[in-house]
């Protein structure tokens, strides 16, 4: 009996350094595979994988807000749109180099996210969902509206040019954009992981778990919640800018609430509160609708819905939850 009690924590919680080492090894393997990939698959698949990474970044932004801070959002398509349009307008009218549009888009979204986060402070759960959903519905209409037309191009949208690989690298532009997006993704994912591990991150999570307790611990709940909204919008905005560059085109109707719902689905399927899970979410959002269409053209929506329900049955806490479950089962068996 004594022995047993001693064993359990050792199995359930391998010491932190071992876990960290395992995580670093896994990341290194994943990155290596990701770098090799664009040289062995077709261009169209490279393009799709690039988009999946773009979605993964956007979903990570949503995850910071929902998964780690406990705030709902069905409005992230709006931030995605702001990021995309910032990039497109800067490239189209300001002739700014594409890589400089990312920080600009991020900053624009961070500010708008922070500002939207202020009134959102008073709302929770379903009410916050509706408020953010309103933002998502309003965004395409705003983009189409006549006062903004000189910049946004109205319903027509803006077409931009695809960048070539720099320094005479022997890459076609699909491969280059893939590598570029991958680099941005790695930086942003590492930054998110560090943020969550930091003091600030612990405060963000504490607010999710119990905001009253967090307040009594001296955490400025309002400030952190709005800031998280800003950071979350930053990620999604950068993703939007990347998306604009990759697709070479922005138009109001690419950023309807359907995109918000897609990001939300990716969040839940990937795993709420899991950074690595968002990668799976990005792949799911991009590929599953196509798979559904391949299975049945007429009933694509129904097939997609059925897949979604089955996935939720099999992994109610997302891909990350499933991996955790399998991991703990293996750990128990080997002990």
């Amino acid at each position: 009996m004594q022995q047993n009690v001693k064993d359990v924590p050792a199995v359930a919680m391998p010491d932190a350094t071992a876990m960290k080492r395992r995580r670093i090894i896994l990341s290194a393997v994943a990155i290596t595979v990701a770098i090799i990939l664009p040289f062995v698959v077709k261009n169209f698949l490279i393009f799709q994988l690039t988009l999946a990474m773009v979605y993964a970044i956007a979903i990570l932004g949503l995850n910071l807000l929902t998964g780690f801070n406990g705030q709902f959002s069905l409005g992230h398509s709006a931030f995605f749109a702001i990021g995309a349009y910032t990039a497109a307008i800067l490239m189209d009218q300001g002739e700014v180099a594409y890589y400089w549009t990312l920080p600009a888009a991020g900053a624009a979204c961070m500010i708008s996210g922070f500002l939207f986060g202020l009134p959102a402070l008073r709302l929770e759960g379903i009410y916050l969902a509706l408020a953010t959903f309103s933002l998502a519905v309003a965004m395409p209409q705003l983009l189409k509206s006549s006062p903004l037309e000189p910049w946004t191009g109205g319903v027509q949208g803006i077409t931009i040019l695809k960048p070539d690989a720099p320094f005479g690298l022997p890459l076609n532009s699909d491969q280059w954009l893939y590598i570029f997006t991958l680099a941005v993704l790695i930086v942003l994912f590492a930054a998110a992981a560090n943020l969550i591990d930091s003091r600030t991150g612990r405060a963000i999570v504490a607010i999710r778990d119990n905001s009253t307790a967090a307040r009594s611990m001296g955490i400025n709940v309002s400030l952190y919640k709005s800031l998280t909204f800003g950071v979350s919008a930053f990620y999604t905005g950068v993703a939007g800018a990347l998306g604009a560059i990759v697709i070479q085109f922005v138009a109001p109707d690419s950023f309807t609430f359907v995109l918000s719902i897609g990001l939300f689905v990716g969040l839940v399927i990937g795993g709420v509160g899991s950074i690595a899970g968002t990668l799976f979410g990005g792949l799911f959002v991009l590929f599953v609708p196509n798979i559904a269409e391949a299975i049945s053209k007429g009933l694509a929506g129904a097939v997609y819905g059925v897949i979604l329900i089955l996935v939720i049955y099999v992994m109610p806490s997302g891909a990350a939850g499933l991996v955790r479950l399998i991991g703990s089962k293996i750990a128990r068996r080997t002990s």
């Binding site: 509706l130 408020a131 959903f133 309003a138 129904a302």
Partner: protein, 292 residues
């Protein structure tokens, strides 16, 4: 002034649609403590069933009540088949399943009945009420039916034992079980009722917006807005919310210059968010009193 009055009446007429939808939304919120994003699609599908019944030669009112019965059964079935196994899943997972249902129902309806617009008859006629040119017979009928539904629901929840049990289930499922209420069945019943009310809403709305698989998209959104503004635990609030959203939307579209028409929806939604920020539980929502 005449324009103003006209716009208010027109707003009340569209508000009737929203109120009807909002009522169905509040209904299911009472039963499952969450918003059902597939509710609009369920109502649309019910309306197609009614249309099909009439195509097969059923008289309007027979088709009307048969559709309500079928929808009720379908609502119960969806809960039993899809949601019962997910009882312990998180709210976020539930929302994903709502989205999935949305996609399935929309796609199946399009597959069976295709995406062309169909006209749907009104039992009240479409001529203008008393020849005034302000509001049609159908609009009036719709408002009256909504109000009747409201009264029936009020009486059901207030005076029947099952209504009481359903309220108890929504408020505190654990305590409801402890007094012997079969909570699972109450939730299923709530789904059935919500589907039935949604069917009524769909059949009343279809003569105005025409029948097609995407007819409910924006109506559902307005219905949510109305329900949330009115207070999600208040059927009366939902109906008042529905009428006010309709009126606000119309007045904003007419009287706010320049941005009016284009941004009608945006303005309505902004107002809603403003209301929520000032009064987070809705205009008529009960504030829960609790002692710590």
């Amino acid at each position: 002034m005449d324009l103003f009055l006209h716009q208010v009446l027109a707003g009340l007429a569209t508000g009737g649609i929203y109120a009807c939808m909002a009522l169905a939304i509040v209904m299911i919120y009472q039963a499952i403590d969450s918003l059902n994003f597939a509710q609009g699609e369920m109502a649309m599908f019910s309306t197609f069933i009614a249309w099909q019944f009439m195509q097969w030669g059923m008289p309007y009112w027979v088709a009307f009540f048969a559709t309500i019965a079928v929808s009720f059964a379908a609502g119960v079935a969806i809960e039993r088949v899809v949601f019962k196994p997910l009882r312990h899943a998180s709210l976020l997972s539930h929302i994903v399943v709502f989205i999935a249902l949305f996609a399935i129902i929309n796609s199946v309806a399009g597959f069976i009945w295709d995406f062309t617009i169909k006209s749907f008859p009104s039992p009240f006629g479409t001529q203008s009420l008393f020849g005034s040119g302000l509001i049609s017979m159908h609009d009036t009928g719709m408002i009256v039916v909504t109000l009747i539904l409201l009264v029936l629901l009020f009486a059901f929840f207030r005076y029947t034992r099952i209504g009481l049990a359903m309220r108890a289930t929504a408020e505190n499922p654990e305590s409801a079980r402890l007094v012997g209420i079969r909570v699972g069945w109450m939730v299923a019943l709530g789904w059935g009722m919500a589907a039935a009310i949604g069917a009524v809403a769909g059949m009343l709305i279809a003569p105005v917006v025409f029948l097609e698989p995407n007819m409910m998209l924006s109506i559902l959104l307005y219905g949510f807005a109305a329900a949330v503004v009115g207070g999600l635990n208040s059927p009366l609030g939902a109906v008042i919310g529905g009428f006010s959203v309709g009126v606000i939307e119309n007045l904003a579209g007419t009287f706010i210059p320049y941005v009016g028409r284009e941004l009608k929806l945006t303005i309505a939604l902004t107002l809603i968010v403003a209301v929520l920020t000032l009064k987070p539980s809705g205009l008529f929502g009960k504030v829960v009193v609790s002692r710590v």
